[in-house]
């Protein structure tokens, strides 16, 4: 697009023709739908805006590697005055892509094989399959099929089937889950995303190790959860790992059982909130608050519960180390709240928005929280608190790595504290 030409927004203009180049598999009807609004443009500014919107929608399809947009004055016969031609020059993705990866983690070698069929039906649908094979017991698979619907709502329908296994040493059990899910996600207002999903999950719990405490042991076995879940997300932060401004809010409600089938029954609500304020000298203040509640005394087991504590959560405590415990295994709770206050600063020697400064920061923090079985107000009003200092590293702005020195300031007698250096890695953090 020629950026250096200046057109006042009021100058009349219309689109005579929209042309796609190098389209192979993608069907005409979706392309037509993506560029439909272009035909109604009356000013050049409008054309520019609509082109950007059309490009975003085409991008949403996930069918193209590259999309270039070119706007020319119309020269073809039958061209109108102030008429323009819009040319989309695209490169489609290959019909199939895949790969094999090996990785070693937790004393176990794992091989991951994956394949993806992008744009399989010509309307942006994709099918993705991944098989994981571990030398011990972490084998699993995941098959996902997804279809986007073009339009303002940005909606998408996804179905998936999966199996995975994981060990939870801090709970002394091993879980294998097999499930199917159907999800419809859409955007209701700008920047408010919704996801409505049904999940049917078969969970198998097995004891891990020789001394599994009886309260954990008695929950072992098979269970089936059939649940409807609604997740609402508002995210205006500028970076998922090290934001400098904006806020995010995630509200998640889940209903399991209650005429949906399965032998697990509960209602669960959870809220996560984060606010960021840029202060002077590149300092950033971050306030977070999370809370969750689920109906106690209904049919649910240890894998449905809330847990608190860990190097990226309530720091200064062992992973899942806050709340009800039994012989070194955490039992989880049904109500929790937690809050954190961070003050981020760039590295002392490299001020400003340098490359490293964007990925590596120092922070001081205070975190507090409480977890209880049922709404036990005495317990909830007597939180565990910790404070500390550390370094935060953002890995590709997706994964957060922290090395902290944390000290628990107050804790319950049952809590498993971890005073001193703590290393954590993950996506979600407090």
């Amino acid at each position: 697009m020629d950026g250096d030409q200046f057109f006042p927004g009021v100058q009349p203009a219309r689109v005579d023709k929209v042309h796609f180049e190098n389209v192979g598999r993608t069907k005409n009807d979706v392309l037509a739908k993506a560029v439909q609004t272009l035909m109604d443009c009356t000013t050049f500014t409008e054309i520019l805006l609509k082109c950007a919107e059309a490009r975003r929608q085409l991008d949403q399809l996930g069918a193209f590697k590259r999309i270039d947009v070119e706007i020319q004055t119309s020269k073809s016969p039958g061209a109108t005055e102030h008429g323009y031609e819009v040319i989309f020059d695209v490169e489609e993705k290959k019909t199939i892509s895949g790969g094999v990866n090996g990785l070693v983690a937790n004393n176990e070698g794992t091989m991951v094989m994956g394949a993806q069929l992008p744009n399989v039906g010509g309307r942006g649908e994709f099918i993705q399959a991944q098989v994981q094979y571990g030398t011990k017991h972490s084998s699993g698979f995941n098959i996902t099929a997804s279809k986007p619907f073009l339009g303002k709502r940005n909606s998408r329908f996804t179905v998936a089937a999966y199996e995975e296994a994981a060990d939870y040493p801090w709970n002394a059990f091993r879980e294998r889950i097999r499930g199917v899910l159907a999800e419809y996600s859409f955007r209701s207002l700008p920047s408010i995303d919704h996801s409505l999903r049904w999940e049917g999950v078969w969970r198998e719990l097995n004891p891990l190790g020789i001394t599994v405490p009886f309260p954990v042991r008695e929950q072992m076995g098979h269970s089936l959860k059939s649940a409807l879940k609604h997740i609402m997300t508002i995210d205006t932060t500028d970076n998922p790992v090290l934001p400098t401004e904006g806020f995010s809010l995630r509200v998640c409600s889940e209903v399991a059982g209650h005429n949906l089938g399965g032998d697990i029954r509960f209602v669960k609500n959870e809220l996560e909130h984060q606010m960021n304020f840029s202060l002077f000298n590149d300092l950033v203040l971050q306030l977070t608050a999370n809370a969750g509640h689920m109906t106690p005394n209904e049919q649910h087991n240890i894998s449905d519960k809330f847990f608190l504590g860990g190097p990226l959560g309530l720091r200064g405590f062992k992973l899942r180390g806050v709340g009800p415990q039994c012989e070194g295994a955490s039992l989880g709770g049904t109500t929790y709240w937690s809050t954190g206050c961070h003050l981020y600063s760039p590295l002392p020697f490299r001020r400003g928005h340098g490359y490293i400064g964007e990925y590596l920061r120092l922070h001081g923090f205070v975190t507090a929280g409480s977890l209880s079985e049922g709404v036990d107000s005495a317990k909830l009003q007597d939180p565990s608190v910790s404070a500390g200092l550390g370094v935060v590293l953002s890995l590709g702005h997706q994964v957060r790595i922290e090395l902290n020195y944390a000290v628990p300031l107050r804790h319950q007698r049952s809590d498993r504290t971890n005073s001193g250096l703590q290393f954590g890695m993950g996506m979600a953090f407090l």
Binding site: T211, R217, E218, G221, H222, D263, E327
Partner: protein
């Protein structure tokens, strides 16, 4: 599953320092609607053994008893902080507390006792598994009972996978014909009957864990109603009067009216 060995060793080592917990519990599947023949038999055997030793316990029914168990077999004994399954582990654990029913037997008698104990355990356990899981009309009943505690589709999947696991675990029995299994049971019954002769208990003047085990299996097998595959076994058992007598003796001495 494979960690039971250490646990047993640990239980015997540490367990001996603590007295028998008054609130010991025995977990078993739901007797009426879920438990299989072999589970009922083993549970009854452990109960009668504990009663013979005079150890207090409460029986609790849990649909997931099999998964509570460290070995996958039921009943599961919870005594203080120890969790054990299988009669022989429980016998070892109880012995570590100084209670032993075979202590006044001679070495040779002890050897015979071990042989008969192993005979009863393997033959009846395998035969019961065979009639519940391998024989088609037995599996029909088992399938319903085993799946009864799960919602659909687990109620279909889990019995199927359990059947595969059982067939693999009792491999040399799963390939047998029903006739051979009945023959095997009969020769075992005959051997037991010969050994018991007209005495009151199998070894010595007091009951031992062998009596408890024989009672558990025979009482459950003899009680199988007509029409089930187990009914063929119950008619075999009824031929041996002295074995029927020892069953009623255990029942009257240790389960006064609490068994139907």
């Amino acid at each position: 599953m494979g960690t039971t060995l250490l646990q047993e060793a640990w239980a015997v080592e540490v367990g001996s320092r603590e007295p028998w917990a008054e609130d010991s519990k025995l977990y078993q599947p739901i007797e009426e609607t879920q438990a299989q023949c072999n589970e009922k038999a083993q549970s009854l055997a452990v109960q009668s053994y504990l009663r013979m030793c005079g150890l207090d316990h409460v029986v609790e029914q849990r649909p997931n008893a099999e998964f509570i168990s460290p070995t996958g077999s039921v009943p599961v004994l919870q005594c203080g902080s120890f969790v054990l399954a299988d009669l022989d582990s429980i016998v070892g654990f109880v012995a570590s507390k100084g209670i032993c029913l075979t202590s006044n037997l001679s070495a040779a008698e002890n050897a015979d006792h071990a042989a008969y104990f192993s005979l009863v355990q393997t033959v009846f356990d395998n035969a019961e598994l065979y009639f519940s899981w391998v024989v088609p009309n037995g599996y029909e009943v088992t399938w319903k009972r085993y799946g009864s505690v799960y919602p659909w589709p687990l109620s279909d999947i889990l019995p199927w996978s359990k059947r595969r696991a059982v067939k693999r675990a009792i491999k040399d029995w799963a390939d047998k014909q029903e006739r051979d299994v009945l023959e095997e049971i009969d020769s075992c019954l005959f051997a037991l009957s010969e050994r018991l002769a007209e005495r009151e208990w199998f070894f010595g003047s007091k009951p031992t864990e062998l009596d408890a085990l024989v009672f558990g299996h025979l009482y459950v097998l003899a009680g199988e109603s007509d029409g089930t595959p187990g009914s063929k076994v119950s008619s075999l058992i009824r031929k041996y009067d002295n074995l029927m007598n020892i069953c009623s003796r255990v029942k009257n001495t240790y389960f006064k009216g609490s068994l139907t």
